[in-house]
């Protein structure tokens, strides 16, 4: 499932519900083989309190605003989910991505994947976050004491996605 929203979300409550829903939906298929979940992998992206990674270039971050392309965002995220389900045998997928203004420590994105074993759960979680970093139409604007700055795309993100194009699951 894909959710694109401005509202903050409760990371613990979402993951807890995801684990329970997976379990019960597994049960509701009447004990069919493989309905049950052995592993859930999740990734949470949070707003950091600074930009830059070293003491020299660090600047405090007051807030982050995410702009997105309504319509295309949902479409791309649904495709990314479908691609993950095509590559791995997944019991359930949840992606929540926020847009709008958010402050340090607030969650930006949540990816959850459930599978019979840990391999598919962990790999598909990494795949989903790598892909949405380069395929979902969001743009980050950082508020710092110097003013607002659009974040530049990182080559390493593009490389992380490219990796998945070479190697099928």
């Amino acid at each position: 499932m894909i959710r694109v929203q401005t509202e903050p979300f409760d990371v613990g409550a979402e993951i807890g519900a995801f684990c329970r829903a997976g379990g019960s939906s597994g049960g509701s298929t009447g004990g069919s083989v493989g309905a049950s979940i052995g592993g859930v992998a999740t990734f949470v992206g949070l707003v950091r309190d600074h930009r830059g990674d070293t003491s020299e270039d660090a600047v405090p971050l007051q807030a982050l605003t995410l702009e997105h392309y309504p319509g295309m965002t949902e479409r791309q995220l649904e495709r990314i989910e479908a691609e993950a389900r095509r590559r791995w045998d997944l019991r359930d997928v949840l992606v929540i991505h926020r847009y709008g203004r958010m402050e340090p420590e607030e969650p930006i994105v949540l990816v959850c994947t459930a599978a019979a074993h840990r391999g598919p759960a962990l790999q598909s979680c990494q795949f989903l976050i790598d892909w949405l970093k380069t395929r979902a139409p969001f743009w980050k604007c950082e508020e710092t004491p110097d003013g607002a700055h659009w974040v530049e795309a990182r080559d390493t993100d593009e490389a992380a996605t490219a990796r998945w194009e070479e190697s099928l699951p």
Binding site: Y69, I108, L132, T134, R135, F138, W139, A153
Partner: protein, 83 residues
Amino acid sequence: MKVLYFAWLRDRVGTGEETIERPADVATVGDLMAWLAGRSEGHARAFADPALVRCAVDQDFAGLDAALDGAAEVAFFPPVTGG
């Protein structure tokens, strides 16, 4: 045809959306970028370095060579930075 701008392209163009009449000789995304760049100083600055600009035609990523026949909505934006 509807043209959308996001992030710093929107800032430079000065609007997030405009409706244009596409001239007959503007056949591809690349043609459209060149044509739009001539509309105002802001447009010119937005498209000053085409290598920094990405495009979607009817909400799908599209390259410079993509044809615009039948397109209802074209969007220009920098490389995405979500997640």
